[in-house]
Amino acid sequence: MSDTTTEPSPTGDAAEAVLTIRDLRTFFQTDGHVVKAVDGVSFSVRRGETLGVVGESGSGKSVACLSALRLVPSPPAFHPSGEIRFQGRDLLRLPEQEIEALRGNRLAMIFQDPMTSLNPYLRVARQLTEVLEVHRGATPAAARQEAIAMLERVGIPDAGRRIDQYPHQFSGGMRQRVMIAMALLCQPEVLLADEPTTALDVTVQAQILELIAELQASLGTAVVLVTHDLGVVAGTADRVVVMYAGRIVEEGPTGELFADPQHPYTRGLLASMPRIDTPPTGHLEAIAGLPPDLGHLPTGCAFHPRCPLASDRCRREEPPVVAVSAEHRAACFEAEAGG
């Protein structure tokens, strides 16, 4: 969180953290005004841990992850502040060749649409072996063997034959598996997964989430899982960060955050979801109003126009980050009283 009165490293022992983002700001210069897509975000992820990053469209959750891999074109984007620590280096300030050597190798990213990563004109074999040959100096034959083994591991039947097919010859779920295989081939330290199952059916989503968890357990990968789905987070994440309008409004260990949500936005999201584990209520507690326009943010707390607890103070001042417990924080005046 951006507040300067609190320690910016939010996750206790920083030595354990594989990737640490500190006070990241990603702004976009558009004609006339500045859009603050990410505005002072700090979080870190440890080896073998899954960090869930939750938010709606425009919350900055995807841009924060893309920024970490320097995948946001600049201009129009710029970073007024921020640091992304990985293996003792600051990725925001690394020369382009060095960040390229890390991308897809030590740091991998998967997307909602697998065709973001896969080249439609190349056979899967070529796309998978290239990473191994370029990043690890594997021989073509060894790379092919390894690629087939990884495709089998992500559950692609008949991998030895299918590796010579083109991406369009795979179904949506299978393509997602190919992308995951590609991302994990080099055994990255960190996997950034941006809505990896949003386009998939729930039965396939369950397969893919289980697959990521299995591979993570055996490889020790740190996973940052970006999603809008609190259900997915509840089942997969160790810790959760909730974003709204470019900022972190609440973060904490998953169990604590769901059992005792402090920010009215987190509470609102939980209350607004229809769920199959409780009897239907008839009426959902919807969050009023609309998500804010990032080019014209409200004063004070960005959530105040939609907040049932908003006071004059919320309209004027930015709320402080309140420590609810050792690892649980919320950016809200009310959390102070409640925590």
Partner: protein, 342 residues
């Protein structure tokens, strides 16, 4: 939940053996010429009573949207009957050259049956103001004129929770949730009896989905609408529906009261589907028994023999690969198509 007395209300819609098949031309040279047949809907039976909301769930490609379109005659069914308010509307098509078109009765019936679409942006003309969008159906049916028309448009906007002062704005000036409200207002303009809502919330943000679900529930009460709510999100479908039908590869595999089907699903596919829906509760998620299905939905061009689900079913027996199970009643109002359910 709707409060109409279900038992006494007569069916508004009865669908029997509905089938929609698409002909796919096979690409390739002279020797491979021919066509494949895609069975999008393969023998669906449904009854929807007045004032009732039927949820239609299933994964992509299961035929739920095609069923909705064929019910409204937006697609000509390949076989089967659709009886709306006692009238066989599947027959109300005429041949015009090489195409089938609606006859006068079906065009007139449009007033009583309307659709709400998933993507409100794609379904609204970007060059038309809200006023023009909402006036169009009124004008098409010669309803209300001049000043009355504007009053009716403002009334519709208020009904769906929009500020009537925005009457001259264009779709791009609104957020996704507001655009869906316009789509709903357009569907309501002619005072329909039946609404088919096809994935009406899946393109919206979580906080906005609840607003639209609440709006649909309120309108249903106030206007006494009968609704078919089509979605892949089982939690949303359960929330709004009185009854739920689960589809797989063009067929209904289970149908029951909305609460019952989630509490006590009987078909192995429904069981897997429900167990795969994530629950926003880490304690439950950690202890839940999840049936993770292997493989994916087979192609409707080449469906499996016997039970369409047998290729992924954890309980498969020999007969499942041979015989198609019939959808039969296992308890009052609870129908299942599975050989293994008593």
């Amino acid at each position: 939940m709707s409060t109409l007395p279900r038992a006494e209300s007569s069916p508004l819609l009865e669908v029997r053996d509905l089938a929609v098949r698409f002909r796919l031309e096979r690409p390739g040279g002279l020797l491979r010429r021919g066509h494949d047949e895609l069975r999008a809907v393969d023998g669906v039976n449904l009854v929807v009573r007045r004032g009732e909301t039927l949820g239609l769930v299933g994964e992509s490609g299961c035929g739920k949207s095609t069923t909705g379109r064929a019910v409204l005659q937006l697609l000509k069914p390949s076989a089967g009957t659709v009886v709306f308010d006692g009238q066989p509307i599947h027959d109300w098509w005429v041949r015009k050259g090489r195409r089938w078109v609606w006859d006068a009765r079906l065009r007139e019936l449009r007033r009583r049956m309307q659709m709400i679409f998933q993507d409100p942006f794609a379904s609204l003309n970007p060059r038309m103001t809200v006023e023009a969008i909402l006036t169009e159906p009124l004008r098409n049916f010669g309803l209300t004129g001049g000043g009355d028309r504007r009053r009716r448009v403002q009334e519709l906007m208020a009904t769906v929770g929009m500020d009537p002062r925005f009457i001259r704005r264009y779709p791009h000036e609104f957020s996704g949730g507001q655009r869906q409200r316009i789509g709903i207002a357009r569907a309501l303009a002619l005072g329909p009896d039946l609404i088919v809502a096809d994935e009406p919330i899946s393109a919206l943000d979580v906080s906005i989905q609840a607003q639209i679900l609440n709006l649909l529930a309120r309108l249903r009460e106030e206007l006494g609408l009968t609704m078919i709510f089509i979605a892949h999100d089982l939690a949303a479908v359960r929330h709004i529906s009185d009854r739920i039908a689960v589809m797989y590869l063009g067929r209904i595999v289970e149908e029951a009261d909305a609460r019952e089907i989630v509490a006590a699903p009987r078909h192995p596919y429904t069981q897997a589907l429900i167990s795969a829906v994530p629950v926003p509760d880490p304690v439950q998620e950690a202890t839940r028994q999840r049936t993770v299905l292997s493989g994916e939905v087979p192609s409707p061009v080449n469906p499996p023999s016997g039970c369409p689900f047998h290729s992924r079913c954890p309980l498969r027996e020999d007969r499942c690969t041979r015989d198609v199970p019939v959808l039969r009643e296992i308890a009052p109002g609870h129908r299942v198509a599975c050989h293994l359910v008593d």
